[in-house]
Amino acid sequence: MSSVLILGATSGMARAVAAEFAAHGYDLVLVGRNRQELDALAADLAVRYQVRTDVHLLDVLNFDDHERVLGACLTAAGDALAGALLFFGYLGDQALAERDFGEARRIIDTNFTACVSVLNILAGHFQARRSGFICAVSSVAGDRGRQSNYIYGAAKGGLSIYLQGLRNRLHRSNVRVITVKPGFVDTPMTYGRQGMFLVASPKAVARGIYRAVEKGTDVAYLPWFWRPIMFVIRSVPEPVFKRLRL
């Protein structure tokens, strides 16, 4: 049976994606930092879909642990591992991050630096095997900087560019790299926040991610309508854009 590795598995979106892969018969290797939550998720998926689940603990901000924990995951999963999906992220508080570099660094380290470290390891693994996929969740916020979330956006934008390069590097090795750019998704990251619109259900986004992985889509906007929306937003000339309140 094939398996997938899911990092940041207890996030709202990852939970739905894990269920989607389990529903298609994949065993799951789940990585996160909260043991209790991981166990609850693993038990749910095992009972619901009768798949095998394996749980590993990792706080992605402890960079020194990446090699060891991912090494253990990859060894345990063995040749059955079809690919990896990266979901961890931190929206943070933009206003705080403007004053407090600690918050800014936490946003950047979670959404960018930790991703680079983790993806470097995974890229090496799949490149050597000459098969597999790497799917990482970036954000439409990374497509253009705006005052309300540009530190988060900068980190996600950096991740999107890293993934472009990685895709280019791994293309010849038959490893697909999928960049997912979701709009607002109905998860704890958005629930109860002001200014949310066109909010998609985690289940709908999870289906989209599964399809993107299956088809090997390079860049998937989810739901699809964010692609034209972001096209328009990227097209606004900077002299105009800088005057907008976004």
Binding site: G12, Q36, E37, A40, L41, A43, D44, V47, R48, Y49, P188, Y191, G192, R193
Partner: protein
């Protein structure tokens, strides 16, 4: 401790009446629930599952509602005993989806599968097998209840049994159910063998129930509540048993698979008043006229138990004003007279109930506010319109005179006096509620409307006196 976010929004039950502004929390994890209760951010809280109770049971105007949408994890399953342990927000629909293919079905199911396990316990739901199997409580091995004091109690019929029987049917007021262990029913197939039988009037329908209900695990009757005179209460009885694998026709490849029917939706709100006595009368005449007595028809579980679930948002048929489902239970001796009186008043009122269902109930359980009592139950769907509330109060009096009661999971209009008179164990319920929740942290719009919690609504003494009178 992080502050749990909430969204302020207008909520309603399935009847879309009443609509109230509530503060809706949506915890993702069980351990967030105690944090919400302890935060002191809202005057009170009530848990809400999928919002299929009809009235104001899962509303809390101006206060906290804890949405269970994301607390739906399965925890463990034992194929030997068929016991499923899950979080209280797991829906009956997902239990069927994942366990019917493995040969298990719900032990008791209401007329929709879009309810949560926690909601089913809080309303102590019954199904078409009540005459044989009782309510869901009989199949709940245990549940864990977070009390307003922050304690987690494991409750079963042998452990904290007073809390168990106050919570089963207790409409979420004794605590917040976190997890439950439910014993599923092994089945050979996803089908029921159904006998359809027409009854020319109420008396004949009740006669058939008495004569042959014990042969069937499931029994229910559709009733034409617009028929008058000698045809009053004419009905089609639909009774059946789980189909053994050998009974299925050859064409069925997988006996445990449901034939995917797909679904339709009522896309927009239809005009209020569309379902009136003319349209319903025409429908009833056709429906009754078309039916023939049939024995042993093979019907899949979905069609048999959830005919309306395949039409999403069917409540929109009643338009903006919404509707009230009125369900009553009546004891065996006075029941037939009570039913006849209710049907007479309904026909006389020129109101039309699109859906009218009659069934025989088996013995009651010890649930302090559990609805079913030995005898009969009648359920009506009535569009909200001018004069509906006084009319329902008139029916309430008929029900009370015949020793019956109204189902809280469907109710939106009962008065505190009538409620107290219908539920003689209310005082005992209040004692347990006071012990578990001295601060009144758990409340709901229904609880306040009905004075379910002492100190709200009318004092219990007055209600008791009313009952004697």
């Amino acid at each position: 401790m992080t502050v749990e976010p909430f969204v302020t929004q207008d909520l309603a039950g399935w009847g879309r009446f009443p609509v109230e502004r509530c503060h809706l929390f949506r915890p993702e994890r069980r351990d967030a629930v105690p944090a919400i209760l302890a935060s002191g951010g809202q005057p009170s809280y009530v848990a809400r599952g999928l919002g299929r109770s009809y009235g104001d049971a899962a509303l809390n105007a101006g206060a906290g509602v804890i949405g269970y949408e994301r607390l739906n994890r399965f925890i463990a399953f034992d194929p030997e005993s068929g016991v499923l342990e899950c979080e209280a927000g797991a829906s009956l629909a997902e239990i069927i989806q994942h366990f019917l293919p493995r040969g298990y079905f719900l032990p008791v199911t209401p007329g929709t599968k879009f309810v949560t396990v926690g909601g089913a316990i809080a309303a102590d739901v019954h199904g078409k097998n009540h005459h044989r199997d009782g309510t869901i409580a009989r199949f709940v091995q245990e549940f864990t209840l977070l009390t307003p004091g922050g304690e987690v109690l494991t409750c079963s019929p042998d452990r904290n049994e007073d809390v168990f029987w106050a919570t089963a049917g207790g409409m979420g007021l004794t605590g917040v159910i976190l997890t439950a262990k439910v014993r599923l029913r092994p089945v050979e197939t996803a089908y029921v063998l159904v006998d359809y039988q027409k009854a020319r009037n109420l008396e004949e329908a009740l006669g058939l129930f008495a004569e042959s209900d014990e042969q069937y695990q499931y029994s229910v009757a559709w009733i034409d509540c617009l028929a008058r005179g000698a045809a009053m209460g004419r009905a089609v009885l639909m009774r059946g048993n789980h189909a053994p694998a050998a009974a299925l026709p050859r064409g069925v490849r997988d006996p445990l698979a449901l034939p995917g029917k797909g679904w339709r939706a009522v896309p927009v709100e239809l005009p209020s008043g569309l379902l009136n006595r003319f349209t319903v009368g025409a429908f009833n005449a056709v429906y009754y006229g078309r039916h023939r007595d049939v024995r042993g028809e093979v019907v899949d579980l979905e069609t048999f138990f959830y005919p309306l679930d395949s039409v999403h948002h069917w409540n929109r048929m009643y338009g903006r004003r919404g509707f009230v489902q009125y369900q009553v239970a009546l004891p065996p001796a006075a029941g037939p007279r009570g039913l006849a009186e209710l049907l007479r008043r309904l026909a006389g009122s020129r109101r039309a109930s699109f859906l009218a269902v009659l069934k025989r109930f088996g013995p009651a359980n010890p649930g302090l506010l559990s609805f079913p009592m030995e005898g009969y139950t009648l359920a009506l769907d009535l569009p909200v319109g001018p004069g509906l509330v006084p009319f329902l109060h008139e029916l309430d009096r008929v029900v009370l005179e015949h020793g019956g009661r109204v189902y809280l999971a469907k109710d939106a209009v009962l008065t505190p006096e009538t409620f107290a008179a219908m539920y003689p164990n209310l005082e005992r319920f209040r004692e347990i509620k006071r012990r578990l929740d001295p601060q009144g942290l758990l409340s709901s719009s229904m609880a306040r409307r009905l004075g379910m919690v002492a100190g709200e609504g009318v004092p219990s003494g007055a209600a008791g006196a009313r009952r004697e009178a």
